[in-house]
Symmetry: C2
Subunit: 148 residues, 2 copies
DNA sequence: CTATTTGTCTATTGATTTAGTAGAGTAACA
DNA sequence: TGTTACTCTACTAAATCAATAGACAAATAG
């Protein structure tokens, strides 16, 4: 299970992706729109800012903007920032590798071997899907509605 | 990340799978062989027993045995028993479905859509791999050693 | 029939993580 | 210079994780 925090982060980013280019969106607006506790969202956006996913502007007419284009932000990188390693075992993590203290001989560890396949499959999906992909269907639906 | 408990469960089952047919293996032996805290392992095996994965015998020459053949026990079912749902979101769980209280309209939830792909890929691996698969390479290695 | 052996079951614990809240502070702008 | 909106740190309640503790029950050997 991914955390609530990660879900919030992804949904906040889709809001920013859907906003007009160069137009900052206020934390309160994102929070209201996505039913996210405002104070909690502040922390999340701050994390995303520190990790170079978004930028912020202060004062009147301030808010948040995407730093990179939405189709350059993958689900995988967001999850890593918020929830930590993608891998199901520490000894399979790319960003936070840690030898399993009990098992020695990773090459022969069959459990590791199985979960390596899980990790590969998971990464394939998460790093090939972007925030833009998550926004696209919503936009299609919107256009469809407008044309109806 | 899967829990330590799940890792212990899987490794304990490989020990039982490797044991001679009909020969019970004592908790202490499994614990020693796999460096698992004995008292913790007791609980794990009890869980697996309650869920119909293993059976036990008490008293002298007692211990645990697999209830089903090793190639009929998948990683997926063991993980479900020990760690709970496989799905990354409650609204994607087969065994413990729960509507996400924030998002309404599952059909349109793009986050859900992405994680559905993750869940599918994960399940494909976990339910097609059995304890027998995990033991097989070890057996091959053993035979190779004996023949050397 | 009783002592030993091995599994059964429930409760408790300390550490960590999760999901927030609280509040003082700082930059930008009008 | 006041208001607005982001920034940063600290705190907390509840849940989960990884064990540990100990009383109990069944099987069996002598």
């Amino acid at each position: 299970m991914i955390t609530q925090k990660a879900k919030y982060a992804l949904r906040a980013l889709t809001v920013l992706a859907a906003a007009d280019d160069g137009e900052p969106v206020m934390i309160s607006d994102i929070a209201a729109q996505q039913k996210i506790p405002k104070k909690f969202l502040e922390q999340i956006l701050l994390d995303l800012k520190h990790q170079g996913i978004v930028v912020s502007r202060r004062g009147k007419s301030g808010g948040y903007l995407l730093l990179k284009p939405a189709d350059m932000i993958t689900f995988g990188e967001v999850l890593r920032i918020i929830d930590g390693p993608i891998a199901p075992l520490p000894c399979l993590s790319i960003t936070a590798y840690r030898k399993c203290d009990d098992c020695d001989g990773e090459q022969n560890c069959e459990i590791r071997h199985v979960f390596a396949k899980v990790a590969d499959a998971t990464r394939k999906v998460l790093f090939s899907t972007t925030i833009a992909d998550a926004v696209a269907p919503a936009k299609v639906a919107e256009v469809t509605r407008l044309l109806a």
